[in-house]
Subunit: 213 residues, 2 copies
């Protein structure tokens, strides 16, 4: 276990905790006080840390995702759904009129694009409703004229995400990839967008300053 | 002030706090105990709430962004940079070898795409370094083969973001829009991507199940 701790880069106490919570399968017992752990254990620990540290998932949600992965029978679509609900935090909405308008906007968007989920109880739908309400509340409703243009980009991204899964044989691996792509891909895209914005901002405002002087 | 509190949807104590901290300009004094607030105050309060509640910016960072907006002389590019640094939280990296590799990857990417910033001290660059290290640590380095494809999407998004600013006359308004787009646009895209993933996942795995049975 000391060796596993070193390889995975987490304290022994953390490994014991994961074993107790069932997040990590037990090692192969070689004597009453010794167990053998393999590379699968190292990878699993790193996946748990990534989901928690980078994705911000709670231990309970990580447990649900891994249980679904280990069960093997659940469809990838279902497991991806569990991870999504865990990653998504929705904002409380106070104004019922706004909420109704936003939900209708989401449902119309989903219809236009052939997106399957428009269930008001879905946490992802609720999160989108929250974002739309906030955008309108801060007086930037014009931004939503570009909703379809951003949805186009989201569709491109999702197709690229799913491409990573095509051709992978093992169901466990498919699910692991989908979860990693969802959680880490989100951070990756958000940071790449910032760097691209720096480029666009410099190009645009640099030009303005040049024109103005 | 009671009227402002109602219109902006925040308690009077919060408004007093914003006034004291200089986030909100004082109202026009009409008597020793009375001041007049206008729609600009309502909009400003809503912007503060959105930056904090949705964007997760600290009060100190909101203060810096607003001070730069109010100064008026700062370039939009500079103010956008302040907001970006506030929004971005980077992960601690333990392994120096990984960090070196990730920084080189970021710098090569920036060169290929003509992105201006590759300064290792920039918080956005640090955040990207953190994400790349994590992706490799969890054993999904293959994902980075698609880095340029995701960067393409980021460039498209940034151009769309900047489009929202083109044609706007007031510098204050330009900066406000850029900040709102950065902060709220991030949430918007992340949630849209989830809905698009549900579509792609259903289409892909639905087809697989159909093929397999």
């Amino acid at each position: 276990m000391a060796e596993l701790s070193e390889k995975a880069g987490v304290p022994v106490a953390t490994i014991k905790y994961y074993l107790r919570e069932g997040l990590l399968p037990p090692g192969e017992r070689t004597s009453p006080n010794q167990a053998k752990y393999d590379d699968g254990h190292v990878q699993r620990i790193k996946l748990i840390r990534a989901l928690m540290d980078v994705g911000g998932l709670s231990l309970a949600t990580v447990g649900e995702v891994l249980a679904a992965v280990d069960a093997g029978e659940a469809s990838p679509h279902h497991v991806l759904g569990i991870a999504q609900q865990g990653i998504t935090t929705s904002k409380q909405i106070s104004d019922d009129g706004s909420k109704e308008w936003a939900l209708a906007t989401v449902q119309e968007l989903a219809d236009r694009r052939g997106w399957p989920c428009k269930d008001p109880d879905d946490l992802v739908v609720q999160a989108l409703v929250g974002v739309l309400c906030t955008i309108r509340e801060v007086g930037h409703g014009w931004y939503l004229d570009k909703l379809d243009a951003y949805a186009d980009i989201a569709d491109q991204t999702a197709d690229l995400d799913l491409e990573g899964i095509a051709g992978v044989e093992s169901l466990d691996r498919i699910i692991e990839i989908a979860v990693v792509e969802t959680v880490l891909g989100d951070k990756l895209l958000s940071v790449l967008r910032r760097l691209a914005q720096q480029r666009a901002s410099e190009a645009y405002f640099g030009q303005l300053a040049g024109d103005g002087e």
